[in-house]
């Protein structure tokens, strides 16, 4: 009887330990190498829309400033988005990063934002150049 009672607890412990071990590895910072070519080549469908940068700036203020700062210069050790890497990235690469995140490095996935809003943020990021 006691053994039967312990079984679920043991299962939970094994589950939690397994999950911890699975994520023991550190980040690699190489998200750009993971972007598929097809995604990399995508163009921003909002490029021709005059309001896209303003909408993207609004979304950036709502979702991104706590880590990247209101001027997108980065808070503490978070990335400064006025960087060569962002300038050189294609719109498709940036949208891929927003969608998938770089979870090992602390960048969450923003897939909860609709794709259109992610492209608007990309338009804003490209305007930082």
């Amino acid at each position: 009887m006691m053994r039967a009672q312990r079984t679920p607890l043991l299962m939970c412990l094994i589950f939690l330990l397994g999950a911890s071990v699975l994520y023991a590895g550190g980040g690699d910072g190489l998200w750009m190498t993971k972007v598929p070519d097809r995604e990399r080549a995508r163009q921003n469908p909002f490029d021709s829309e005059a309001n896209a940068v303003a909408a993207g700036a609004k979304l950036f203020r709502q979702n991104c400033t706590s880590c990247h700062g209101s001027e997108a210069t980065g808070v503490k050790n978070r990335p400064n988005l006025h960087s060569e890497r962002v300038r050189a990235a294609t719109p498709g690469e940036l949208e891929w990063l927003l969608k998938n995140g770089s979870m090992r490095n602390g960048m969450p996935s923003w897939s909860r934002l609709p794709e259109q809003q992610r492209w608007q943020i990309v338009a804003f990021l490209k305007s930082l150049q």
């Binding site: 994520y23 709502q62 969608k99 809003q117």
Partner: protein, 288 residues
């Protein structure tokens, strides 16, 4: 007396949270029962209440409440603590226990279907009416007796959460297995949901009532019996439209009227909730 203290503490927690005035905060809850693969952003703390009211014909009306604190530990790991309480008309207000849960996202990129592993321990009593999930043979009969906290329910709950985003829609399916560690059999349940913002693109101007700030959807959830009597017999099921309003830089309000789908279900439940997210909570505490 304890319930009164609990309410005062809850109120204080909300006030302290509001006083911290996060620069930008936006909670992300669209559903009441169903979980998606969207995790809390790391370092963010979300305060939320999930309430449900019911009016069982043969019993007293009740208001069940779960106060939730959700913290993003890592991008792939979210931890939550729930404090449950309830008030039943003509009876009493009681604190009914706590739940501690963790969600892990095993795949670190977006896929067509994104799995999340969920593990929860709950220590609640038989007076709990938070109805955060429906499993086993849960039904309206559980709500007809007077408030009785004598029976302890120490349970583990495992969920497999599958969730997809497609053209602005979120589709989520949860498979639930729950077991009272006092030796009762495994109980099973399900929850499925879809939702979509009213507008997929954001408007360029700051606005509170833009369509992009509203999300509508629906949930379907219910029990699937237990290990010895798996199936739909003697189970309860609900269909519930959902609506969420994300106030920019403020709280998220959500509401969901649920209709019971069989005679073992409540005829009608009204769920409502408020969620408020504090960005980079620990950094703020440290004053950094």
């Amino acid at each position: 007396m304890f319930a009164r203290r609990f309410k005062i503490l809850a109120l204080l927690a909300c006030v302290v949270g509001a006083l911290m005035l996060p620069q930008r905060a936006r909670a992300q809850e669209n559903y009441f029962v169903t979980y998606t693969h969207h995790m809390e952003e790391p370092g963010n703390l979300e305060f939320a209440t999930k309430s449900v009211t019911g009016f069982p014909g043969a019993g007293n009306a009740f208001w069940g409440n779960a106060m939730e604190m959700e913290y993003g530990v890592k991008t792939w790991w979210t931890s939550e603590l729930y404090l449950d309480s309830q008030t039943t008309a003509n009876e009493s207000s009681v604190f009914t226990g706590f739940r501690f849960e963790n969600r892990f996202r095993p795949l670190l990129q977006e896929h067509w279907i994104n799995p999340v592993l969920y593990a929860e321990f709950e220590d609640i009593n038989s007076a709990d009416k938070a109805l955060l999930e429906v499993v086993g043979h849960d039904g309206i009969a559980d709500f007809l007796g007077r408030n009785d906290r004598t029976e302890k329910e120490r349970e583990v709950e495992l969920k497999l959460i599958l969730s997809s985003n497609f053209r602005g829609w979120n589709v989520a399916e949860n498979m639930i297995a729950e077991k009272n560690i006092a030796g009762e059999p495994w109980e099973f349940g399900y929850a499925v949901a879809v939702s979509r913002p009213l507008s997929l693109a954001a408007s360029p101007k700051a606005c509170r009532f833009c369509r992009e700030n509203f999300a509508i959807g629906a949930e379907l959830y219910g029990g699937l019996g237990d290990r010895y009597s798996f199936g739909l017999h003697d189970t309860s099921h609900y269909f519930a439209p959902t609506m969420a309003f994300h106030l920019p830089s403020g709280p998220t309000f959500s509401v969901s009227p649920a209709a019971g789908l069989n005679s073992n279900s409540h005829g009608f439940l009204l769920r409502f909730g408020v969620a408020y997210e504090i960005n980079q909570f620990v950094s703020r505490l440290r004053g950094k």
